[in-house]
Assembly symmetry: C2
Homo-oligomer: 186 residues x 2
Amino acid sequence: MTPQRKDAARNWDRITTVARELVDEGTPLQLNDVARRAGLGVGTVYRHFPTTEALLETVATPCLEALGDHGRQALAHDDAWHAFSTFLTQLVEAQVTDPALAKVSATATDVLPRTTELKRQIIAIGTELLTRARAAGTVRPDLADGDLVPLMCGISYATYVHSETPADRLPTARRYLDTLLRGLSA
Amino acid sequence: MTPQRKDAARNWDRITTVARELVDEGTPLQLNDVARRAGLGVGTVYRHFPTTEALLETVATPCLEALGDHGRQALAHDDAWHAFSTFLTQLVEAQVTDPALAKVSATATDVLPRTTELKRQIIAIGTELLTRARAAGTVRPDLADGDLVPLMCGISYATYVHSETPADRLPTARRYLDTLLRGLSA
DNA sequence: ACAGATACGGATGAGCTATCCGCTTCATCG
DNA sequence: CGATGAAGCGGATAGCTCATCCGTATCTGT
C-alpha cells in the first residue's frame, strides 16, 4: 500500500469541496460539472469517484459521523423517551438540511463500506434508544427497528414536497416529526 | 375543432397502454422505449406527449379520477373521523400501488390542466373531510390543509424505502398511516 | 538526474431527449 | 368513387450527459 501522491490528495480535496458546494446549492450532482468547476479533467473525477453515488456518499460521510456522535450522546441520557425523540429530531433536521444525506439515507445499497458501517452504527443506536423507550413503556410496541430510518426519510420527503424554500423546511419537518412522535408514544 | 383521426386515436391508445405496462413493471418511463414497444416512431410518441411528464400524468389520470370518486363517497359518511381516515387510507394505498401516481402526487407543477383540476378536487375533498373531523374535535388543530398531500407522499416514500418487494408495501403503508393517524387524532 | 509508478486530461463513443421535415394515411367533397 | 388538402407518421439527426480509455505529464524514491 503506497501512500497517495500529493497531487492526487489535492485533487480529492478539490473534488469533494466542489461537490459539497454543488449539493448545498441544491444542484443534482453531475460529475462533469464537478470536473469543470474544480478545474480538472473528467477522467480525474471518475478515477477518484467511479460513480455519482460514490461521491455523494463521500460528501455525506461527515454528516453521518456527526449523527453517530449525537446518537452516542443521546445514549447517555436518563429519560428514555427524551433521548429517543431528541435523536430522531436530529436525524430529520440533518436530512432536510442536507440533500446528500437525504439521498444516501434513502438508498439501501451503498457503494462505500464506510457508509454502510456508519449507517449500521446509527441504526444500532436508534434501535437501542427505541428498545429503552419501549422498556420504559413510553412507546407503542408495534414499531419495528427497521421502521425508524424509512420513517425519517418519509418525513424529510414530506417536507420537501411541502416546502417551496429551504427556509420553510426546518419548522415543517419539526411539526411533522412531532405529529409522528405523538403517534408513536403509548 | 376537427374530430381526431382514427389512426391518431389508435396510436394514443397504444402509447398509453404500453406506458401503463412499463410503469407497472417499475421501469422509469422513457419515450423511446414506449415508441419501440408500441411499434411506433419516436416522433409519433412525442407529438402525442411532448414530455415524459405529460405521458405520466395521462397514465395517472384514471387513478386520480378514481380517488376523486372515493373521496365523494367518503363525504357521504356520517362519522367524520372514519370518513377522514378511510380517505387517507385510499390515497396512500393508491400511491404505493402505482408509481405513476406517486410521482404525479409529489410534483407541484403539472403539465396537463386536467391533472391540476383533479388534484385540486382531491385536495378540496381532503380539506373538507379534515375540517369536519376538526369540528367534531377528533383531530389535532395544528394540522394544516396543505399538509395532507405531503404527508401522504411521505408515507408512501417511507414505504418504498422500507420494502424490498412490492408485495411488502401495502401492509407497511397501512402500518405507517395508522401510526400517523394516531398522532393526528386528538 | 533518472526510472518506474502513479495520476492526469480530454478525445471518444454510447445512450437518451427532443426536433424537424419528407412521406403516408385519412376524411371530405365533387 | 377518386381526387385533394389536411392531419398524422416515422426516423434521421442534433444536442446533451455519462462513462471509458490511453497517450502524456507529474510525482517519488534512488
